[in-house]
Structures are given as structure tokens and as C-alpha cells.
């Protein structure tokens, strides 16, 4: 006798978070926002309301089930409780190079708690402040860029929600030909349960140069939290921006974010991301090479364990001739962790002599880990060169064996191997202390010192 058991995975209904326009409006008014900002919010809210929640029938979300999020805790604005900057681990606040702080700005649960900027940089006319202050003090500058080009509500439900309900933001402006020698460092720290919606707006005028480290951090917690983020990087003619963005959320965090960099003629954008934390991350990242001769690179390192899902959706858009893009994303996956990378190179009509490259490497460290790697090319111009490579492999026993024959135990051999695996991304981060911090995170994960909670 044969028994057939039919099991059907119960699909949870995807519910929208309980945000209300009235609350958003009250908050905006309480923050003293001018009408034009409130109008931006209101338009975005209308867009938000007109869209359904994304679900796994949408191609971009096919592999990303976030229906288990508990909006009862994650869908209300986090309330800052007066915690000071000292709650952020000291190692995250230390100067990035040597003893001299370039600039450090930090938020706790959406509230600005610290801001310092080296006098040398202030004298260069650099603006390095929170978005509300910038809206008040530099309205014209902000108005020209905020939600105008790099992030629009129409891009998706969470982009719309972010645009309507953003809680805090970083504003960096580097004037024409200013070369900022010391790095600028900002931290979004979430300590309370609830939602924060942080925005990053970076504007480099023609010929400007800067290096920025932006960190997302939260301690471990039991109740679900959410971060609904937006990043706009605007790189002017012949400007050069190195932007390092590191995410080390607690395992109770759900991140939904959109980021885009626009690069003008002969400009360069070197964008490096590292994700270690969160229960689930769904991040859309795009580099738009708008100007002739512009260059953009996206590098990523991801290490997921427990039942984490890290999903990155990348887009390299060649909108002008003689543009070069390069992408290298590397993930390591333990336990039942899952990574998704879906990447497209798009070459617009007329964007001749472009060179686009993307490589995604995934390393599975258990039989139950999973990596989805979906490269794609959309080419609408002649005389271009676009290539991609994607691999999913295991930790190579040949390497481990070699290292072990020198007397190092397996765990140490795996650690050394992982260091080497991530090295080509790590070496693009120009701060040795930050590299070491990331390596320490890798070690902790390898040793199972972070265990994701099953919620």
C-alpha cells in the first residue's frame, strides 16, 4: 500500500505595516519641516498607498519571503529613549585612520546624538550634518537633490514608504574641487524595537573627492525591528567617491532598502558593502553611469548564518559611452542561511565602448545553506563588452587540508581560508581597523558565537 502525503507550504498573507499618514504628518510638523518636504512625503504616501505589498509572485521578490515579519513590533516608529552616543560600541566610534577624527556623526533610533567635524574639513566648505538641519540651513541645496534623481517613490513599495516616512538622514556635501583627505564616518544605531527609516544623501560637486564609511548597527534583540532605508549618492563631473557601507544589525532586524549612485562625466564611484547581520535584508543597489568616461564599482561581502536571508539586487546602468562598471559580490553561508544575488548590467542605446563586468561567488559551508545567483545582461548598444561570472561552491577541502597539514586545527584553517576568500573585497576597504573588525565578525560567525533566533 502506498500512502501519498501532500503537503502544501502555508503561505502567510503579506500584511502592510501599520504606518498611518496622520502620524507621519504629525512627526514632520513636530520636526518643523517646511511645506516642500511635507509635500514630497505626501506624494510618496499616495504612491505607497497605490501599490500592493511586494510578494513572491514579483520577480524581484521571488526568493524572498518576508511574510514572517511581525509588524506589531517592527511597524511602529522606534522611540528614542534618551540613550547617548556612548551606547555605540567604542570600537565603532574610533577614528578610522590614525588618531585624527575626520568627521563622525551618529544617530540613536533616529535621533542625532553626536556630530563632530574636523576643522580642516569645515574650512573646505564641506557640509556634514543631519538631514533636518540641512533642510533648515541649506534648503536650496537639499531641495535640488533630495528624492529628485537617485531615489524615487515609484521604484517600489518600500522606496515609497521610505520617501513618505523617513525618520532621519545624513547629508554630506563636498564643494567643487574640495578633496577631503580624512574619512567621514556616520552611524545609524537602532537600540529600540520598532522601525527607523534612515536616509543618506551624498553630493560631490565637480572634481570633489571623499571617502565615507557608513555603518548600520543594532544589538541583538527578541522583538522584530525594521530598517527601511534609502541612499542617494550623487557624484559630479570628475568627482571621486569611495563609499563603504557596513551592516551589522542584530538578528531581529528586517532591512528593506534602496540605494543608487549617479556618476557624471569622468566621475568615479567605488561602493563597497558588507552585510553580516539582520534576519532578512532586501537591498536594491544601482550605479547609474550617466556621464561619458564614468566609472563605477560595487563590491560586497556577506556572511550569513542561522536562518538569515541576505538578498541583494544590483543594477549597473551604462547610460553613456565609454563607461566602465565592475561588480564583485562574495558570500559565505552557514547553517540554513540563504543568499540571493540578482544582478543586471544594462547598456542603454548609444552607450558604445562600455565595459561591464560582474562576478558573484558563493561559498556554502553546510548542506542546508543555499545561494541563488542570477546574473543578467540587457544590452541595447553595439560595440560593448559585458561579461559575468557566477559560482556556487563549497569550502574547498584541498585548502583546508593544506593548512591543517601545518598543524593548525580545522577551525583555524577554515578561518584562514575565509580570510583569504573575502580578501579581494576587504582590501578595497581603506581602513585596516575596519578590515580587522570585519574579520573578527567573520571569526565570531564561524565559531557560532552569533546564532540567529528562529522567530
Amino acid at each position: 500500500m502506498t500512502t501519498t502525503t501532500v503537503s502544501r507550504r502555508a503561505k502567510r498573507e503579506i500584511v502592510a505595516p501599520p504606518f498611518q499618514w496622520t502620524t507621519i504628518l504629525e512627526r514632520a510638523q513636530a520636526a518643523g519641516e517646511p511645506d516642500w518636504v511635507i509635500e514630497l512625503r505626501q506624494q510618496a504616501w499616495a504612491t505607497y498607498e497605490s501599490m500592493p505589498m511586494p510578494n513572491q509572485r514579483d520577480e524581484a521578490w521571488r526568493r524572498t519571503d518576508y511574510s514572517h515579519i511581525n509588524w506589531n513590533s517592527a511597524g511602529h516608529f522606534a522611540i528614542p529613549n534618551g540613550a547617548t552616543v556612548e551606547h555605540i560600541p567604542a570600537e565603532n566610534r574610533a577614528p578610522l585612520i590614525g588618531d585624527e577624527q575626520g568627521g563622525l556623526v551618529a544617530w540613536m533610533d533616529g535621533k542625532l546624538v553626536h556630530r563632530e567635524l574636523n576643522e580642516k574639513i569645515t574650512k573646505q566648505g564641506v557640509i556634514f550634518t543631519d538631514l533636518h538641519t540641512a533642510i533648515r540651513d541649506h534648503a536650496d541645496l537639499v531641495k535640488k537633490h533630495l528624492f529628485q534623481k537617485a531615489l524615487k517613490a515609484s521604484e517600489g513599495k518600500f522606496a515609497a514608504l521610505h520617501t513618505a516616512a523617513w525618520t532621519h538622514g545624513l547629508f554630506i556635501y563636498v564643494p567643487r574641487n574640495a578633496v577631503v583627505e580624512l574619512p567621514l564616518h556616520s552611524i545609524f544605531y537602532s537600540e529600540q524595537t520598532g522601525a527607523t527609516l534612515g536616509h543618506v544623501l551624498v553630493v560631490l560637486e565637480e572634481g570633489a573627492q571623499a571617502t565615507i564609511l557608513h555603518e548600520y548597527l543594532s544589538p541583538e534583540g527578541d522583538n522584530h525591528a525594521s530598517y527601511i532605508g534609502g541612499t542617494e549618492l550623487l557624484v559630479g563631473n570628475a568627482a571621486n567617491l569611495r563609499y563603504v557601507s557596513l551592516q551589522s544589525w542584530g538578528h531581529n532586524m528586517y532591512e528593506f532598502s534602496h540605494g543608487r549612485g549617479h556618476v557624471a562625466r569622468d566621475g568615479q564611484l567605488d561602493w563597497i558593502v558588507g552585510s553580516m547581520g539582520s534576519k532578512l535584508t532586501k537591498a536594491f543597489m544601482q550605479i547609474a553611469l550617466d556621464g561619458q568616461g564614468s566609472w563605477g564599482r560595487m563590491s560586497g561581502m556577506f556572511f550569513a548564518d542561522g536562518n538569515q536571508l541576505l538578498d541583494h539586487d544590483t543594477y549597473q546602468s551604462h547610460n553613456a559611452p565609454h563607461t566602465t562598471s565592475d561588480l564583485l559580490f562574495k558570500s559565505a553561508l552557514k547553517d540554513e542561511a540563504h543568499s540571493v544575488w540578482r544582478g543586471n548590467i544594462r547598456v542603454m542605446p548609444g552607450a558604445i565602448k562600455t565595459d561591464g563586468f560582474q562576478a558573484n561567488r558563493n561559498m556554502l559551508m553546510s548542506d542546508t545553506a543555499r545561494a541563488d545567483s542570477i546574473p543578467g545582461l540587457e544590452i541595447e548598444a553595439d560595440d560593448v563588452r559585458c561579461t559575468h561570472a557566477a559560482t556556487v561552491g563549497q569550502m574547498e577541502e584541498e585548502y583546508i587540508f593544506y593548512l591543517m597539514t601545518r598543524g593548525v586545527p580545522r577551525i583555524e584553517a577554515e578561518r584562514l581560508f575565509l580570510n583569504g576568500y573575502f580578501w579581494d573585497v576587504l582590501e578595497r576597504i581603506p581602513f585596516e581597523d575596519v578590515q580587522n573588525r570585519l574579520l573578527a565578525d567573520v571569526d565570531r560567525k564561524l565559531l557560532g558565537m552569533h546564532t540567529a533566533k528562529n522567530k
Binding site: F401, G407, L416
Partner: protein, 260 residues
């Protein structure tokens, strides 16, 4: 008294295919042995099996080193017991410098003896590594390079010998350390091994070629065919192989010749 490596009736297979079919060999610390044999005879399999490569299954036999059952141990434990393998194809590990790797290997050794050990201090280690590099005529810059990353064939082999010198094993197996080296690189590597030879080091040289043996002068020669050591003798055995090739030995020992 020195330690003895004793291989008794060792049978090893890979994915169910028998490769070693009863190997017997005894090597004492301080002796230099050479293992010769045609391609596919099982020489490298013996090297990997002795170090505990997970892809090699031991079906029968014993390996005893200094009274310890080696086959029960993981590769790192075998290393800490005093066995060393110089690889034919060492792998590259970017981001990990030669110096950092060797330091972590030394510290693993110290910790296995005493869990409380704080590790070798950096000045102590630097001194040790500098000594070894000077002994082998290796440029000090080598220490800062990433392990085997972008190394030439000769550099990889010299790096293996530097590891051998630094880790000071009791028995070292050199798996075709001569392969892919031109005559100058071969001489440098062989000179290095000669400097390390002595009463505290037993060496098992695996090679196809007599060239390496002319430099290293092993006292014992073993000839391997079809997974067994079919003949053992003194240096004259290597001369015979050099003069007549393997063919007469195939015939003598009734081994089927399989051309590769």
C-alpha cells in the same frame, strides 16, 4: 633515540578504486629515503594518506609514528606529532601572509602542548623566521607576501621548504618537490633540504627523476609499482632505474604496463 615511521600493509582507495595495495616501509628519523616509481603507481597517494587527506580511504593496514597510531589522527594532529608534507601543488591563500600563517601554525603547536600558552611573541617569531630565511637564502620580503599567491613554481617549492625549516618536523615527505623546476630552482630547493637534513630529520623524497637524488643522496631507495613497493635497496637501485627505465622492473614483477 629517534622516532620511527612504520607503514604496515597499507591499503588505500579513492572513491572505491584501490590505489595502494599493501605498502610496507620503515623510516627512521635521521634517514633519507627516496620513493621512485612511474606515474600512477601510488606515490602521491601514499604521501596524502600519510598526512590524512579526507578523500583517501584507508581500507587496511597501520601507520605507526613514534609509537602512535597515525591513522586515527586528523591532519593537524599528525603535523603536530612531527610529520610534514611538502606539497607538489601548494594552494594559494590570499590575505594570509607567509609570516602570519607560520606564526599561527607555531602557536597551534604550542597550544596543543599547553592550552594556556600565550603564543610566540612577535620579536621571537621574527628572529626565528629571519634565521630560517637566511639559512635557506630567501629574501626577507617573502615573509610579507600572501601564502603562495602569485608565487612562481620555484617560489612555491621554496616556501614549502621554508615551512619545513620553521616547523621542524621529525619526518618530512617531499612530494615531487622537483616537478616543474628548472635546474637552478631545483638546486636551490635541494640545497635547502640538504641544510635541514641531519640526525633530527627523516626525509622521504618522492620523485620520478634521479636529478633530485643526485643532490640529496638518499641511503635508501624504494621502487613503487601498482600500489606496492616492489623493490628496496641502496643508491645502486636508482642507478639501475636511471640506466634501464622502469620497463625491466615491470617485467620482473609482473606488473601490467599502462601507458598514460
Amino acid at each position: 633515540m629517534g622516532a620511527t615511521l612504520e607503514i604496515r600493509n597499507l591499503h588505500v582507495s579513492i572513491n572505491g578504486t584501490p590505489i595502494l595495495k599493501g605498502v610496507n616501509l620503515t623510516l627512521n628519523q635521521g634517514e633519507t629515503h627516496a620513493l621512485m616509481g612511474p606515474n600512477g603507481s601510488g606515490k602521491s597517494t601514499l604521501a596524502y594518506a600519510l598526512m590524512g587527506h579526507p578523500a583517501y580511504t584507508v581500507d587496511a593496514g597501520q601507520v605507526i609514528f613514534d609509537g602512535v597510531e597515525v591513522l586515527e589522527l586528523e591532519a593537524d594532529e599528525r603535523s603536530r606529532l612531527g610529520l610534514f608534507l611538502a606539497f607538489q601543488y601548494p594552494v594559494a591563500v590570499p590575505g594570509v601572509s607567509v609570516a602570519n600563517f607560520l606564526r599561527s601554525a607555531i602557536n597551534s603547536r604550542r597550544k596543543s602542548i599547553n592550552a594556556e600558552d600565550q603564543g610566540i611573541t612577535i620579536p621571537q617569531f621574527r628572529k626565528l623566521l629571519t634565521q630560517k630565511m637566511d639559512l635557506l637564502g630567501i629574501d626577507h620580503k617573502f615573509a610579507g607576501r600572501y601564502l603562495n599567491e602569485g608565487f612562481s613554481g620555484g617560489e612555491k617549492k621554496r616556501n614549502e621548504i621554508l615551512q619545513l625549516a620553521t616547523l621542524e618536523p621529525r619526518v618530512a615527505i617531499l612530494d615531487e618537490t622537483d616537478s616543474g623546476l628548472d635546474i637552478d630552482a631545483l638546486r636551490i630547493v635541494a640545497d635547502g633540504v640538504n641544510k635541514l637534513k641531519g640526525p633530527d630529520l627523516g626525509v622521504l623524497i618522492i620523485t620520478h627523476y634521479k636529478r633530485m637524488l643526485d643532490y640529496l643522496q638518499p641511503e635508501h631507495i624504494h621502487l613503487m609499482m601498482d600500489g606496492r613497493i616492489v623493490e628496496s635497496g641502496g643508491p645502486e637501485l636508482a642507478e639501475e632505474v636511471e640506466a634501464a627505465g622502469y620497463k625491466p622492473f615491470f617485467e620482473k614483477h609482473g606488473v601490467e604496463v599502462t601507458e598514460e
